[in-house]
Symmetry: C2
Subunit: 214 residues, 2 copies
């Protein structure tokens, strides 16, 4: 989940940003689509459209925070002119279920938000802070009956539209092959990895990867 944007080479990343950034989400998304937000505010249930796309969860900044990464990449030589943060959130009911069980219930939605990183501003002189609006939003949705692999990815294109990513896209195979729990990158979620370890819900592929000499 945390790696469709962040592990892409910088050039592809920029292409994604060009496609998926949208001014209306550069400030906190509210006001428009208010009825959807109100409907979703208590207990989130994914809402789909006739064409298979999804209505994005506009209230995700009020959901449970999982982690942030900085310039994460699976390319050892990754570099670019632009630095980025990614922040990951999950609907609160699913976070509580994970605490109890070590894995995700049906209807779980994880949100990956990308934001630009600045270095010099106000009193900050080195290191990086988050600034400006969102540069991309992606969803990872568990809906066991709806999706053949139980999960699907969506790119958020506007406040009312999240586009289904076809199941042959590389994010699906990467998550299936490398993610620690139920196709999600719990190895990068510091409050959840100890729970999954204790509850014995780590995937076989992740255990195998961890057992290999480094």
């Amino acid at each position: 989940m945390a790696f469709r944007f962040t592990l892409l080479p910088a050039s592809l990343l920029l292409a994604c940003i060009a496609v998926f950034s949208f001014p209306s989400l550069h400030n906190p998304p509210r006001v428009s689509a208010q009825s959807v937000k109100t409907e979703q505010s208590k207990r989130f249930v994914p809402v789909y459209k006739a064409d298979g796309d999804m209505v994005p969860p506009l209230q995700y900044r009020e959901w449970t925070y999982l982690t942030s990464g900085f310039n994460m990449s699976y390319n050892p030589k990754a570099s670019g002119d632009m630095s980025m943060f990614d922040n990951v959130f999950v609907n609160p009911e699913s976070y509580k279920a994970f605490e109890a069980t070590g894995t995700w219930p049906d209807k779980t939605v994880l949100v990956l938000e990308s934001r630009g990183a600045e270095s010099k501003g106000s009193i900050n002189k080195s290191g990086n802070y988050q600034s400006g609006g969102t540069m991309g939003l992606e969803l990872h949705v568990k809906d066991e009956v709806r999706f053949p692999g139980k999960w699907a990815f969506f790119d958020v294109a506007s406040e009312t539209k999240a586009t289904l990513i076809p199941s042959k896209a590389p994010c699906y195979s990467c998550h299936a092959e490398h993610a620690a729990v139920d196709t999600t990158f719990v190895q990068f979620y510091p409050t959840l990895l100890p729970i999954a370890t204790k509850k014995d819900t780590l995937s076989a592929t992740y255990r195998k990867e961890m057992a290999q000499p480094k």
Copy 2:
């Protein structure tokens, strides 16, 4: 708020970590002090002790996320062997009040959590992700009647104890002189800065700082 830990030189930071890290918070804090957590879970109200210290909000990871920084420092030459993230949270009622007013209500509590940063792990080969337990926790508490300057800082020393930082400590003067809204560093909270700008709640000192040539 986001800058007591993160803007300290690395050597001092390590000293802080030695003093304030505590194994019991390296996993999500629950179980013990459960009664306090239950009491605080619906609407947070600061609870103090006879000696002036405070009972830490154990449920802060379920609060509203504000931002994360990476190796932030007010030293242009800051460097160290260790990289760190800091994550900032606020009690949800105060976040909603800020959305409506552009400033913080009484009883607001911001939490600064520091975590170690790793680079190579699982499929990640460059950039940084958060790992392991908390390396420090600090609180910034607004209690207008209790504190002469309306706000106070606390260092969290254990699940049941947050130590009041004396008002002559440099964090107080730095926040007073440089923070964008009501002594808090809203200039580093990307969803809140546009609201404060629109609501015209930016501090005079911050406006002056922003007006200076760079």
